[in-house]
């Protein structure tokens, strides 16, 4: 009885999640307009919101298990897109990265954003079987390979920032697939010891280049780092955030950091700094709370999932989303290095926006089918 399903679907639909996402995008669009008042980014963002909402609803009301059955096809299709983007003439090169595919009418879109979703699906499908014992080495290797294919292609663009956002997807999937806790603890300890050690050795042996060191130094001490060179983005972002104060800057909008082009990429990478300038500490914390509610709703959905693969899809999305939010805002606040990672739902960019809505739609689909056997 499609009508009954339909009715129940609307009742079980996660309205909070949907409105949270919609609200963040709407708020973000205002900030984009503020950051680039003379450009049409905010219009494009509204178009993206429309497309995203439709995609989200379409996927939400499709059985995610049927979609997961097709996961290998989507996955391979994603890899093809990543190959296509490297073809000269089709792929667009912006700032030295060949990461965009030209689309007549809209402009361009970034396949690596969509491939995140297909990769998460692929991983969920592979690890989604019911399990009785802990994760095996073989399973880990296969999981690693699933991740490696898109990562390798993205590194050819090269887009290190994007690659980093893939890591937590696998990490979360492995963590929730009964990987042994001692292995997790051991990895964590090793990381705590090895990362500083490797860095130290790298500095001593000059394998880590001066400019790369400088990027790290900027985080420790932005005021004394090279404010005009490598530390410029971080320093200007910190100034912009700081100028926001408690309730937002009192400067006229024509004299804002973004209007005067002191803050680079204000509508994409540094949209959060713009938000900080306009709305101050209060607005910034509200945005963080909104993300917290959104992610909590997703985790709740995962917990209620009727099977393992549904849970894994949602949590992979949670992992990717959280990591991106943390890195992007950290970048604006000068505590993470400047790598071009967009802020999900807020940064201008069709691919990121639509891909995030698709991911949320997937999570909704899982939830809607929590009572279905």
């Amino acid at each position: 009885m499609p009508a009954i399903i339909h009715k129940r679907s609307w009742r079980d639909f996660d309205w909070v999640l949907a409105f949270m996402a919609l609200g963040i995008v709407a708020f973000g669009t205002v900030q984009i307009h503020y950051a680039q008042p003379t450009q049409s980014y905010w219009v494009k963002q509204l178009i993206g919101l429309g497309i995203g909402m439709v995609a989200m609803l379409a996927i939400a009301f499709t059985d995610y298990r049927r979609l997961l059955n097709w996961a290998p096809v989507f996955y391979v299709f994603g890899l093809v897109l990543l190959v296509v983007v490297l073809v000269p003439g089709i792929g667009m090169r912006i700032n030295g990265q060949q990461a965009w595919i030209k689309v007549p009418g809209i402009g361009q879109f970034q396949p690596s954003e969509f491939v995140k979703v297909t990769t998460a699906m692929m991983l969920a499908r592979y690890f989604g079987k019911n399990r009785a014992q802990a994760l095996t080495i073989k399973e880990m290797i296969v999981g690693g390979l699933i991740l490696l294919c898109p990562i390798a292609l993205i590194l050819l663009e090269p887009d290190v920032g994007s690659v980093l956002t893939y890591m937590p997807i696998l990490a979360v999937v492995l963590f929730l697939s009964a990987i042994r806790i001692r292995l997790v603890v051991a990895t964590a300890l090793l990381a705590i010891v090895m990362i500083p050690l490797t860095y130290w050795i790298g500095v001593k042996t000059n394998l880590v280049k001066k400019y790369q060191q400088e990027r790290i130094n900027v985080i420790y001490d932005p005021e004394n780092a090279d404010r005009r060179g490598i530390g410029y983005h971080t320093w200007q972002s910190i100034l912009t955030v700081g100028e926001g104060g408690l309730f937002g800057s009192r400067q006229s909008s024509e004299h804002s950091q973004s209007s005067l082009k002191f803050l680079p990429e204000p509508h994409t990478d540094f949209i959060y700094a713009v938000t900080a300038e306009t709305t101050g500490f209060v607005g910034c914390v509200l945005v963080l709370v909104a993300y917290a509610v959104l992610i909590s709703r997703l985790i709740t959905g995962a917990r209620r999932s009727s099977d393992r693969s549904g849970m894994l899809v949602i949590m992979a999305i949670v992992g990717g989303l959280t990591f991106q939010v943390f890195i992007n805002i950290g970048m604006a606040l000068g505590i993470s290095p400047v790598i071009g990672v967009p802020l999900p739902l807020m940064s201008a960019g069709l691919a990121s926006l639509i891909a995030t809505f698709i991911a949320i739609g997937f999570a909704m689909s899982v939830q809607l089918r929590r009572f279905v056997n």
């Binding site: 700081g242 104060g245 004299h255 099977d307």
Partner: protein, 629 residues
């Protein structure tokens, strides 16, 4: 959760992830609090500062007028290429393209960039002064490559052609690094690139003339392009200056020097009744526009080097910075002092000429044999023998007393920079000058009494002395400032009162009144009158109806009258007129031209001609032959 039974602590693992998410967001919140609430004000201030720029609007410098209100020095608008430095990462990398594009000397540009590197970054740098229309087009065409460049208008000083009044006016120039270190300049808030008076009255009255720069406070974008204007403070123009110079007399004086035999010398005209300088010419001269307009170019630097190395020292203001033996003009103060001190008396002032004098085994001759003249006759015919004996009667003590009385051993106090002090005779001076023969002898007194060897004085000091005699003992401070003009209307808050001449040394009396008895003074004046009007050494310049009183002089260069080549004696004539009611005092010195009556006196006469036409509105009687080279 329907599948947890088959998993390892899945519920706990999910909760762990949830906690991790909250922790990450908390870290961000704490950081936000630090940046926005704790340090917000400081960052806001830095952010505001980086978009605010203060662009100076140069104040137009005051105009310099002559005493009749004729403008002498004015400013004309020029265009400069300016660079805002805040956006430039590597200044030195710009040297090459800018030097090429704007046709500037590379070394000069490099030096300039080095100098400003120690200054705060919000100050702009002047890249090129007086940009041509080609330069402006170049800057506009290269707006994308060099967005930090812009064009600004600035008033530039324009001095009269032919170097007229060069030594009086002086010139303006950019403040030097050395000057910037001195507190006198720093305390006035001057900064690199500021234009200040560097010589002449431009220097002395710089504080009046300079004015105060205004500024525009603008908002710039990250590339330094102006986006908005916040505040404009108009500059306060410098105050106009009325000098005591009379341009007609000045031109006449300069003309005399330009056409003189050696084209080197000094002519000064002064009102003896108040010290106002009517004309002051020193030759050779120079073009002050070199300093205000061309000095930063390669050609300008070469031109300046040539001036510095010129053996004829055109930069020197001979009127106040050169010393010459006064020759026989020295006999005027000698006569006054001799009478005052009682070495001779009004009733009996006769002394033997003797055609000269023998001191020890050395004979010092007189130019003629004048019998036993009285003081007037001795002046009229410039009898050296008379004054040898007068000097010996007064003694060196008497001569030193005279020097002191007439202030000859001090600066006159003229409002020009770097005036030198005259050298006057004293045993002490001889000890320093001739350490091998340090004792003062009678022969030294003889030399001191007729204006050679130990008497070496500036033309301005001589003129002041003679003008003092002409007014019965009033020694005024010679000066060039008539008035700093008032600004605004009386009664309004911006009104500034006119300022008259104030002695640079406030302790110096103006005038210094000498207690010369009138009969003594008149006797000497009559002697000087006879020089021109009763067949004396200056008889050639006599003007019927306009009594010139004067005295010729010949300053010994090698030996009096001995050299006829380029080391010929300097020719002096010092005078005032009308003799018994003086309006104007005039001194002329023509370097290496020989006897005073041949060159200096006719030059003086021609300046009197101009004065006569101007004040009497009639042709001067009795034109003189011109002694041309």
């Amino acid at each position: 959760m329907k599948f947890e039974d088959t998993s390892q602590n899945l519920r706990a693992r999910l909760r762990f992830i949830q906690v991790l998410v909250v922790m990450m967001l908390t870290v961000l919140s704490v950081r936000l609090y630090v940046l926005q609430v704790v340090r917000g004000d400081r960052y806001a201030e830095i952010a505001v500062n980086q978009r605010l720029r203060r662009l100076p609007i140069p104040a137009p410098r005051g105009v310099i007028f002559d005493r009749n209100g004729e403008p002498i020095v004015d400013s004309r608008p020029i265009y400069n290429v300016i660079m805002s430095r805040e956006d430039v990462k590597d200044l030195q990398s710009l040297v090459e393209p800018l030097a090429e594009g704007l046709g500037i000397d590379k070394d000069i540009l490099k030096e300039r960039f080095d100098l400003v590197s120690s200054m705060p970054a919000f100050e702009s740098i002047q890249v090129k002064q007086d940009a041509t229309s080609n330069d402006i087009a170049w800057v506009e065409a290269h707006n994308l490559e060099f967005p930090e460049l812009r064009i600004e208008q600035q008033p530039q000083r324009k001095y009269p052609a032919d170097g007229m009044l060069a030594h009086v006016l002086g010139y303006v120039g950019e403040i030097s690094p050395e000057q910037l270190k001195q507190s006198t300049f720093k305390d006035k808030g001057l900064k690199p690139g500021d234009i200040i008076g560097q010589s002449g009255i431009e220097q002395i009255y710089d504080d009046y003339l300079r004015g105060k720069d205004g500024y525009r406070e603008v908002v710039v974008d990250s590339r330094g392009r102006i986006q908005d204007e916040i505040e404009t403070v108009a500059p306060t123009p410098g105050r106009d200056l009325l000098t005591t110079i009379d341009l007609d007399l000045q031109k006449a004086a300069e003309e005399q020097l330009r056409t003189s035999v050696t084209q080197r010398g000094v002519i000064i005209a002064m009102d003896p009744n108040n010290g106002e300088i009517l004309a002051l010419a020193s030759f050779p001269n120079f073009d002050p526009n070199l300093f205000s307009q061309r000095i930063t170019t390669k050609e300008g630097k070469a031109e300046y080097a040539a001036l510095l190395n010129d053996p004829e020292t055109p930069l020197l203001n001979r009127a106040v910075q050169s010393r010459y033996p006064p020759g026989s003009t020295w006999k005027i103060p000698m006569s006054v002092a001799g009478l005052e001190q009682g070495a001779i008396t009004l009733e009996h002032s006769n002394l033997v000429c003797g055609g000269g004098i023998t001191i020890g085994n050395k004979f010092t001759r007189c130019m003629g044999n004048h019998g036993t003249p009285d003081v007037k006759t001795a002046i009229t015919h410039s009898c050296d023998g008379y004054f040898y004996r007068l000097g010996l009667k007064m003694g060196i003590g008497g001569i030193m007393k005279m020097v002191d009385e007439f202030d000859i051993n001090k600066r006159t106090g003229i409002d020009l920079p770097n005036e030198v002090i005259s050298w006057t005779p004293s045993p002490d001076f001889k000890r320093r000058m001739q350490p091998r023969d340090p004792d003062w002898r009678d022969i030294d007194t003889v030399y001191s009494s007729f204006g050679q060897v130990y008497d070496v004085i500036t033309p301005i000091a001589l003129l002041r002395t003679i003008a003092g005699v002409s007014t019965g003992g009033n020694l005024y401070i010679p000066h060039l400032l008539k008035e700093v003009r008032a600004v605004g209307n009386p009664g309004t808050p911006d009104y500034k009162q006119p300022v008259g001449f104030q002695p640079l040394d406030p302790a110096k009396p103006n005038p210094k009144k000498l207690p010369i008895p009138e009969e003594i003074d008149q006797t000497v004046v009559q002697g000087m009158w006879q020089v021109v009007n009763a067949g004396g050494t200056g008889a050639g310049i006599r003007m019927a109806g306009f009594d010139i009183a004067g005295k010729t002089g010949t300053a010994q260069v090698v030996g009096l009258g001995k050299d006829t080549g380029k080391n010929k004696d300097h020719s002096w004539f010092v005078s005032y007129a009308p003799a018994f009611k003086p309006e104007i005092a005039l001194v002329a010195l023509i370097e290496n031209s020989g006897f005073g009556n041949m060159h200096a006196a006719p030059a003086v006469r021609r300046v009197y001609d101009v004065y006569y036409r101007k004040t009497r509105h009639a042709e001067p009687p009795g034109a003189v032959q011109i002694a041309q080279k």
